[in-house]
């Protein structure tokens, strides 16, 4: 059992820092030691910013003021968050070759810095966040801390594995089609995907701009509320952020489940789902019923079209976003070009990996003359129907409860030769991004071979308070989130 300080949650560490029982330097050192001990097996951390982190922790300790819960707390950011002067590669050779050093901070890391949180490094992700297993990363796959022959999930697999293995106190991830919730589920930690527009995307490397969202991977629901309170809110640098006031998420955590209506969508318990996953989520519903919630059946009949819709819209946005990697302003380059077009072709073709190329190709096709109406426009219309369906369901219930993924963590290499099979892994997560609503992924059981199982609590737009409150009540009544992988 790992009893290092790095096992603490944010709120536990904060109590100790405030009482001067521990120092920020000790906390940072505990995370560093843990990374040095276990990361050779996990491959979750792709850049180690230890010297700078220790320097900042020293400064924090010498000031000695721990008024904000994040002050002096070490975290890891997915390798898509720009931090001034810190290598940021999106785990792609495109940005790794010339080691892209952003000349600015992302809004999220800047806001965390302002509260005194300490960045200790960057975590692994699928290349430009395109994948469900971190297997497309130029640094290689991140392993599941519970079984090193399996994937940590993706794309935020590095952040999920790092949190679950206590390599940090909390981590940042991004979620475009499930990239926070699915790895959180595979690794047994808590992951929050917020309402689109609740957090700023500025300074995060873009994949699909109408679907990308910025969020956290943490060890408890309380920590999810705490980090969200610090990073949410209008940002003049991201015109898609909302100016709605940011509620006090921590204050409303303890409201309990009494009177809350929770819907189980029958389409999320259909064929293809692992019976152990179904059983774990249904028994979580039963626990919540005992805690005072009312459980109802709901139907989201267009769920079956979500993958097809997503895998048109996402690649279209990808093909547009990836156009910026032309080898001119930053990134991978090509020697002795004949002319400009030859330069573009060679810089891009030798830089991007196969999954990124595949999505650029699908998107370019679907947006090209003659196909736009049949693919892109059609998918945008089906997106409307999927979004409306959720809105209708939320007229009957306050929250929807479903599995996060059809199975627990799969084996490394299981889907390498079949891109479509990998896409189908996202069946329960992509509808949420299409609708733009929030989803909280949290542990709700284990399979017979000791792999974590996750469930997601979904709310209407801007209802983070409700799903956090429900998640908190469930967490208080269970101890799944306290289980730790038996890593050496």
């Amino acid at each position: 059992m790992n009893m290092s300080l790095s096992t603490l949650t944010i709120s536990q560490a904060h109590e100790k820092l405030k009482k001067k029982e521990i120092s920020s330097v000790e906390l940072v050192k505990a995370c560093i030691e843990r990374i040095e001990k276990v990361d050779k097996n996990l491959n979750a951390v792709v850049f180690r910013n230890f010297d700078r982190a220790l320097e900042e922790a020293k400064k924090t300790d010498s000031v000695g003021k721990f008024d904000h819960p994040l002050t002096g707390i070490p975290y890891l950011a997915k390798d898509v968050y720009c931090e001034k002067g810190v290598p940021t590669t999106a785990c792609s050779n495109v940005l790794r070759d010339k080691t892209y050093l952003p000349p600015f901070d992302s809004t999220t890391t800047k806001r965390l810095k302002a509260k005194g949180a300490i960045s200790i490094g960057k975590t692994n992700t699928d290349e430009f966040t395109m994948g469900a297993s971190t297997e497309t990363s130029c640094y290689g796959v991140t392993k599941c801390p519970w079984d090193l022959t399996r994937v940590a999930g993706g794309s935020s697999g590095g952040s999920a594995a790092a949190v679950s293995a206590d390599e940090c106190v909390f981590a940042l991830g991004t979620d475009t089609g499930g990239s926070i919730r699915q790895p959180a589920s595979f690794c047994g930690c808590v992951g929050l995907k917020v309402t689109y527009g609740r957090t700023s995307r500025y300074g995060g490397v873009s994949m699909a701009s109408s679907l990308d969202s910025i969020g956290t991977l943490v060890k408890s629901v309380e920590d999810a509320a705490l980090v969200l309170e610090s990073i949410a809110g209008k940002d003049p640098m991201d015109s898609t952020t909302s100016d709605r006031p940011v509620p006090g998420y921590l204050r409303s955590l303890k409201g309990g489940l009494k009177g809350l209506k929770i819907g189980l969508p029958k389409e999320y318990f259909a064929k293809g789902i692992d019976p152990e996953v179904e059983q774990a989520v249904r028994s979580a519903a039963e626990t919540m019923r005992k805690l005072g919630a009312e459980i109802l059946d709901v139907s989201l009949p267009r769920t079956k079209y979500a993958i097809a819709t997503y895998y048109v819209l996402c690649p279209c946005e990808v093909s547009s976003n990836m156009a910026r990697y032309d080898g001119i302003r930053y990134g991978h380059t090509a020697a002795k070009p004949k002319d400009l077009i030859d330069y573009y072709l060679r810089a891009r073709s030798t830089g991007f990996g196969p999954e990124v190329k595949r999505r650029i190709m699908i998107g370019t096709f679907a947006l090209s003359a003659g196909y736009y109406d049949a693919y892109y426009l059609k998918a945008q219309k089906v997106r409307t129907l999927i979004k409306n369906e959720f809105e209708d369901a939320f007229k009957q219930v306050d929250i929807i409860l479903s599995p996060v993924a059809p199975t627990p963590a799969f084996k490394v290499g299981a889907h390498t030769d079949d891109p479509l099979a990998m896409y189908l892994e996202d069946a329960f997560t992509v509808p949420i991004n299409l609708a733009g609503i929030p989803g909280l992924s949290l542990p709700c059981g284990f399979s017979k071979n000791n792999l974590p199982i996750g469930m997601q609590l979904l709310g209407p737009q801007w209802a983070e308070e409700t799903i956090l409150r429900a998640g908190y009540a469930y967490e208080q009544a269970t101890d799944w989130h306290k289980q730790k992988p038996a890593l050496v």
Binding site: I328, A379, V382
Partner: protein, 98 residues
């Protein structure tokens, strides 16, 4: 429509500014065809008079004051990110016509 030809795939690659080797093109043709075949099911959905969704925020015309503000990244910092030669504070790129 689903099954693509290799010639079509090479044409799309050119539009996307990617070069595919014959082996890559063959693999890509199979993979794209199977993905597009899967996507065909969207045709089953009746979308007559449905308004397409491009974004979900509900925000329209987000405007700000047109003011010049100092940027965190200075011009030289940005030029410093380029892998190309920098000449008189400009990026030197290959000729557009060979």
């Amino acid at each position: 429509m689903p099954a693509l030809t290799q010639a079509q795939v090479q044409h799309i690659a050119k539009l996307a500014r990617l070069t595919l080797t014959p082996a890559e093109a063959e693999k890509m043709t199979k993979e794209l065809s199977s993905i597009l075949q899967y996507v065909e099911q969207l045709k089953e959905v009746n979308t007559d008079s449905v308004i397409p969704t491009a974004q979900v925020t509900g925000l329209t015309n987000t405007l700000r004051e047109d003011q010049v503000k100092p940027s965190e990244a200075k011009p030289d910092d940005l030029l410093g990110c380029s892998p190309m030669p920098i000449v008189e504070h400009q990026i030197q790129v290959p000729h557009a016509h060979g």
